[in-house]
């Protein structure tokens, strides 16, 4: 059951964040990330809740939420798989990595598996180009990935 109210921990964390800035609004990204970390994505109702704490309008918050690639406004899988599709990884075979992932997960980039276990997304250069191709699963970056290690990495996901 989705809970559309911010819980005390989220509230506390957001309020703590706002203290770092002259203007509460500056904590927008962080607030969105705090909520997203505990719930996976951000529903419309939660947008209202967050904007109220930051004393800004929902549309102002929406401006932020829709701009960044890492804020999700619709449900995502429990594990987010991002493959770097930038220039060095491209030369070192990220297309192949993408195909392997599509093949195992049976989804296209931008989609979530039916069992909500995985979401597959492309991502820009992860600053590990000397170890390309690079993959990021949730918060961990894996470099020099190849066709043998990908199934093992996916296997480890919950």
């Amino acid at each position: 059951m989705l809970n559309n109210k911010l819980n005390d921990i989220e509230l506390y964390k957001i309020i703590e964040e706002t203290k770092h800035y002259e203007d509460k609004k500056a904590a927008s990204i962080e607030a969105l990330k705090i909520v997203q970390n505990s719930r996976g994505w951000i529903s419309d109702q939660l947008m209202y809740e967050i904007s109220a704490i930051l004393c800004i309008s929902v549309s102002q918050l929406e401006e932020i939420a829709t701009f960044y690639s890492q804020i999700y406004r619709q449900p995502v899988g429990r594990n987010i798989i991002k493959y770097c599709d930038s220039v060095v990884c491209y030369m070192m075979g990220c297309n192949k990595i993408q195909l392997i992932l599509e093949d195992i997960l049976k989804i296209k980039p931008g989609c979530t598996t039916i069992d909500h276990k995985f979401t597959l997304l492309p991502i820009s250069c992860l600053g590990n180009c000397d170890k390309a191709p690079v993959l990021m699963i949730n918060s961990i970056t894996y470099s020099n990935v190849n066709s043998t290690c990908i199934p093992i990495l996916l296997e480890k996901c919950k």
Partner: protein
């Protein structure tokens, strides 16, 4: 491959790291290896003006890509004291494809950056510093947070630093994934919690920046250079370089080379030395076709330019840009057209959308390049591409995103025109094939 002995005098940025760069230098190790001594010396002997003067004399140039002189940037901050607050921003939004230098400094040497920021904060009389870190650098975020706590405990951050009346604190602010946040005014907008579109300049951030206050934005590597300049002096800093640009620089090579990586080297070392001695040369079976000297937004160069000195003016003289100084090789197996398509897709995806030429032009470029790739382009398309390069060129858009985006394209068309034309010839071939086929079908009916 060369084995290099790194010392404080020759490798001021990286000497505290072990050979494989794997250790994280926390406060105890940093202090043991003369960390924070520059801060001690400065607070004892210098006033802000002296520090600005020293950095100006050192001719330290910004390491984020544009290469503006840091001392001059600092001295643009207003002299009058009637502002309540001034801010120092550390641009740690490294996202240029092919660039991975700041990551090393952020993850492994967080205290060096903090010390640089504290000194910079003192110099521009700021009371608060923000590190704008890209959201994907999760290890860096963790390490920086820990380092900030350590520094605060040791009395290097907070109120009355080391018993003086200098107050300065640092907050880590993480982004959520957009390349444009690396542009300094977009970074300010993003930090304020606004949509991160770049701002029109002037006014420059030095006058009206974060929350309307005087603000200075410096790159991670730039700030990490500061402590050693204070410690070792201006003439030392000038002497370790082999060219007019002073100091050392993190440079690297990636792609199909034997030992891709990043190394601290003096400015003015040749690209060939970097490629052959440090990166171990091209991998067996791969021939160098072109290279990009400093990230995705720099012009391609041909293999015969490899003897160029790696510094701002030498690279500019041969028609490219030094950029971030982290280079990449393109080998003979890569199709230039598809590589440029990859680059332009990135730039189109990352346009903030504020100016029409950039918002509309980049996806158009992507579509045309796609038609080159799938063999449906005509000679007319090459003209359109060239025209678009002109339309997106310098001065036509609000920020340098669009001009940066067309640099690799423009240079690829210039250097590899044949590759583009071949794609066109394919289609012409196909057309005449079908024409012949239809003709023969007609003949059947006759």
């Amino acid at each position: 491959m060369k084995k290099h002995i790194r010392t404080a005098e020759t490798h001021p940025l990286t000497w505290r790291l072990n050979q494989s760069y794997s250790n994280i230098v926390w406060a105890s190790e940093y202090c043991k290896k003369n960390g924070y001594s520059a801060l001690h010396i400065m607070l004892k002997n210098m006033i802000p003006k002296d520090v600005v003067q020293m950095i100006t004399e050192s001719k330290l140039r910004g390491r984020g890509g544009a290469g503006f002189y840091t001392g001059i940037k600092w001295s643009l901050m207003p002299q009058k004291k009637d502002y309540q607050a001034r801010y120092l921003l550390c641009n740690a939004d490294e996202m240029e494809p092919g660039t991975y230098k700041d990551r090393l400094l952020l993850e492994k040497l967080p205290h060096q950056l903090l010390e640089g920021m504290i000194i910079a904060g003192f110099a521009i009389e700021a009371s608060m510093g923000y590190i704008f870190l890209r959201g994907e650098y999760i290890d860096a975020a963790y390490n920086l947070k820990r380092a900030i706590l350590e520094a605060r405990k040791l009395g290097y951050l907070g109120k009355n630093i080391l018993g003086t009346n200098f107050n300065f604190d640092i907050v880590l602010h993480t982004g959520a994934g957009r390349y444009i946040c690396g542009e300094e005014t977009a970074l300010i907008n993003s930090l304020e919690g606004n949509r991160p579109n770049p701002r029109i300049k002037p006014p420059f951030p030095a006058l009206i920046g974060l929350w309307g206050k005087p603000t200075c934005v410096n790159n991670v590597e730039t700030l990490s250079n500061i402590p050693s300049i204070i410690l070792n002096g201006v003439s030392w800093y000038k002497e370790i370089s082999l060219s007019d640009d002073t100091g050392t620089k993190l440079m690297g090579f990636s792609g199909q080379v034997n030992n891709p990586g990043v190394w601290e080297v003096p400015f003015g070392i040749s690209a060939r030395e970097l490629l052959e001695d440090y990166a171990g040369g091209m991998k067996k079976g791969f021939v160098l076709k072109a290279w990009q000297p400093g990230g995705a937004s720099t012009d391609f160069l041909l293999p015969e330019t490899l003897d160029v000195k790696m510094d701002f003016s030498s690279i500019a003289n041969i028609g490219s840009r030094f950029g971030t100084g982290v280079a990449m090789v393109v080998d003979h197996t890569v199709s230039i057209v598809s590589l440029v398509l990859n680059l332009e897709k990135f730039f189109a995806r990352e346009s903030c959308g504020l100016c029409t030429p950039c918002r509309e032009g980049l996806p158009w470029i992507v579509k045309i390049l796609q038609s080159f790739e799938n063999g449906s382009a005509t000679i007319n398309d090459l003209d359109i591409l060239e025209d678009l390069c002109f339309q997106l060129g310098p001065g036509k858009t609000l920020c340098a995103h669009a001009p940066g985006a067309i640099q690799p394209l423009q240079s690829a068309i210039k250097l590899f025109q044949l590759d583009f034309k071949k794609c066109i010839m394919n289609i012409n071939q196909k057309m005449s094939d079908t024409r012949n086929k239809t003709n023969s079908i007609f003949e059947l009916f006759l």
